[in-house]
């Protein structure tokens, strides 16, 4: 396996080297030291391990619209906006993630083994976000499509102004945001959660004991009557 030393090469050279790798390569990036923008904008199917904490936008703008892309594992904690606008492939974080994880992600799978801070899954557009632990306030804000699975508890304002994304929470929910509602868990939901548990390995989640949150669709059209709802 090739190793790229981020401290020696710097982020720019690391990303260049990652872009040049042929499909199915395996590579390890060491000495990441919380640097921003590592492994961004990659579309080939390569396996990347980031051997430490990383900063903002880790794995952002990755993958292609056909759902393929690199598989990235972060052996540490990550900063803001992990895998933002991901199109395909996967990003797994062994630690916790800061704010806006998986923001606006359109495809692929984002797995966080620890907790995720505020606004996890904000503006989500089709990707799958799975968090083993808790998520902070305003998670799933304006999420348009895709799935968010929370293995722990969810903070205030969950799923505010949701469109068609669905949120599953195994623990408690502090409060729901505007136009979000708890819905009955269907057999399809349970199947989907089972599959996610298999993919993520989050076997502390019992697919039958999860709360489904989705849009009540009351704010899909403008009406002065809704003024107080926002």
């Amino acid at each position: 396996m090739e190793t790229l030393n981020c401290e020696v090469l710097g982020v720019r050279e690391v990303n260049r080297a990652l872009r040049r790798l042929p499909a199915r390569s395996q590579v390890r990036v060491t000495n990441t030291y919380g640097k921003h923008n590592i492994a961004v904008g990659l579309d080939k199917e390569i396996s990347i391990t980031l051997g430490g904490n990383t900063g903002y936008f880790t794995g952002g703008l990755g993958g292609s619209s056909d759902g393929t892309g690199p598989d990235i594992v972060v052996d540490g904690f990550v900063g803001w906006s992990l895998a933002e606008n991901l199109m395909g492939g996967s990003v797994r974080v062994k630690g916790s993630a800061s704010q806006s994880a998986a923001s606006s992600a359109r495809g692929g799978t984002i797995i966080i083994e620890g907790d995720a801070s505020l606004r996890a899954g904000i503006s989500l557009k089709g990707a799958t976000l799975a968090v083993a632990g808790n998520v902070g306030a305003m998670s799933g804000f304006m999420a348009q499509a895709g799935t968010i699975l929370v293995g722990g508890n969810a903070g205030a304002g969950l799923g505010d102004s949701l469109y068609e994304a669905v949120i599953y929470v195994a623990g408690s929910i502090v409060s729901l945001g505007a136009d979000a509602q708890v819905e009955e868990l269907s057999s399809d939901d349970i199947l989907a959660i089972k599959r996610l548990v298999e993919i993520t390995g989050f076997d502390h989640i019992d697919p039958h004991r999860v709360t489904r949150v989705a849009s009540a669709r009351r704010l899909y059209h403008f009406s002065a009557q809704n003024h107080g709802s926002y």
Binding site: N15, F57, S81, N85, Y163, H221
Partner: protein
């Protein structure tokens, strides 16, 4: 019944409550909601119209109008070593979304811009293949909503524009009402068809100038530092915002004044938020000068630019280029009482304006999606009314004629490049414009607000 008061003059109309304002209040009372509309501020604002050029005479001599060369070439975005946009003219086409505009309108703008050698800009609905094909220089917007944002499109862009705000609605997100959210628009935006779409007003993945710096670096990494990054702001606290955008790494700053258009937002926002383009140019130019970035970071100004005179005045006040939106739509045929289809048949569409509750020449009903001339619509039977070939030629004609207006004034000022125009070439006709543009009131050496009275 006649009475003694018959000869008395009518009571004066109330300034605070004229009939139009009463109508507005009645409408709110009837509907319980505010007015949403397209285009930009309608109210009278201090503008470039309030400035005139001091062209050559005895003290300075002019260039020959049709003989001596007047350079209009404009380069944007070389600050960080990326391939700059090399434009033949300093007039670019502003970001307007597929969704707000029909695919045909976007294509005609792209083709026209390519023919005259300038750039077009995507919009709040992603990049369509038609647009990429039509436009030889395409600026890809990164908007708060991120509708349809695709890294593959990013990699085929010629420049990136991070949109923080828009002059029509600085601090507000866009609206696209349900009637325009058809299946293709909905799919591009990952939204259910037919909903009243509310665009975000803040970016989902960063907040504040320090984050913006990192965001820009992300976009540069994703494009291998090969293309320039613009930052577009709605004109409010222009000096601070321009300095922060430059500090965050912008190669080009785009400042959109309050006359700038929109496809749909609240009328109250259009008319009451932001500052006019006139003071915005001067403030932005000053901000760049203050931090020693004049000409290194280019300034693009937009918001109500219509003519070669407007372009010349913007350039004289410190802009490197301008961007046009509404004017380009008008050139396409917006607000025309008729349209000519591809078979050359002229169709009178005045009735369609009346059906919308407006008239040709006064229409700002872009938000309804029922554009009588097939520009701001997603209705196939209306879209057909825009003939791409004719529309392309119309925009080409408009851009060329506007450039000729610009160079005519520039030559008369004795300058061989439009980028040599300077504030000294201008005086103001009103005290307001003199204060805002920081040029003297005509016939005086008075610039209100500069130095002691």
């Amino acid at each position: 019944m006649p009475n003694d008061h018959n000869d008395a003059p009518p009571a004066p109309t109330s300034y605070s409550f004229p009939p139009a304002e009463m109508d507005r209040i009645h409408a709110l009372a009837d509907t319980g909601t505010y007015q949403i509309r397209g285009l930009g501020a309608r109210r009278k604002l201090p503008s470039f119209d309030d400035l005139v050029f001091l062209t050559s005479s005895v003290s300075r001599y002019p260039l020959e109008g049709y003989r001596e060369r007047c350079d209009t070439r404009t380069e944007l975005g070389a600050r960080h070593g990326a391939a700059p946009l090399e434009l033949a003219i300093p007039i670019t086409i502003a970001g307007m979304s597929f969704g707000a505009l029909s695919s045909a309108a976007k294509e005609a703008l792209g083709r026209a811009a390519s023919e005259v050698g300038t750039s077009t800009t995507t919009g709040d609905g992603g990049m369509t293949p038609e647009e990429r094909k039509a436009s030889s220089k395409l600026v890809y917007q990164v908007l708060p909503s991120r509708y349809g944002f695709d890294p593959a499109d990013l990699r085929q862009a010629d420049a990136i524009e991070i949109v923080i705000g828009q002059g029509a609605k600085p601090g507000g997100g866009g609206l696209l009402l349900g009637q325009k959210v058809n299946a293709r628009v909905a799919a591009l935006r990952t939204l259910p068809p037919g909903i009243d779409q509310r665009s975000a007003s803040r970016h989902p993945d960063w907040v504040g100038p320090d984050d913006l710096r990192i965001k820009m670096e992300e976009l540069r990494e994703a494009t291998d530092w090969s293309i320039p990054i613009y930052v577009k702001i709605g004109a409010t606290r222009v000096e601070h915002d321009v300095k922060l955008a430059v500090a965050a790494g912008a190669d080009v700053v785009v400042v959109d004044g309050m006359q700038g258009g929109t496809a749909a937002t609240q009328d109250v926002f259009i008319e009451n938020a932001g500052i006019p383009t006139l003071p915005a140019v001067r403030l932005a130019a000053k901000a760049l000068r203050d931090i020693g970035m004049e000409r290194q970071v280019q300034l693009v100004v937009s918001g109500g630019i219509r003519s070669g005179a407007d372009v010349a005045k913007a350039l004289a006040l410190g802009a490197d280029a301008v961007s046009i939106g509404v004017a380009a739509l008008v050139a396409l045929g917006c607000n025309r009482p008729s349209c000519a289809g591809s078979n050359g048949e002229v169709r009178d569409v005045r009735e369609d304006y009346i059906a919308l509750g407006t008239t040709a020449g006064n229409c700002s009903h872009c938000h309804t999606g029922m554009c009588p001339v097939g520009i701001a619509t997603q209705e196939p039977h209306l879209e057909e009314r825009l003939d791409i070939e004719r529309a392309t030629q119309a925009v080409v004609n408009y851009l060329r004629a506007t450039t000729m207006e610009l160079t005519a004034l520039t030559r008369a000022c004795g300058k061989s490049s439009v980028h040599h125009l300077e504030p000294d070439d201008l005086v103001a006709l009103t005290i307001e414009a003199a204060a805002m543009a920081k040029v003297p009131l005509a016939g005086t050496n008075w610039i209100p607000g500069s130095g002691a009275l």
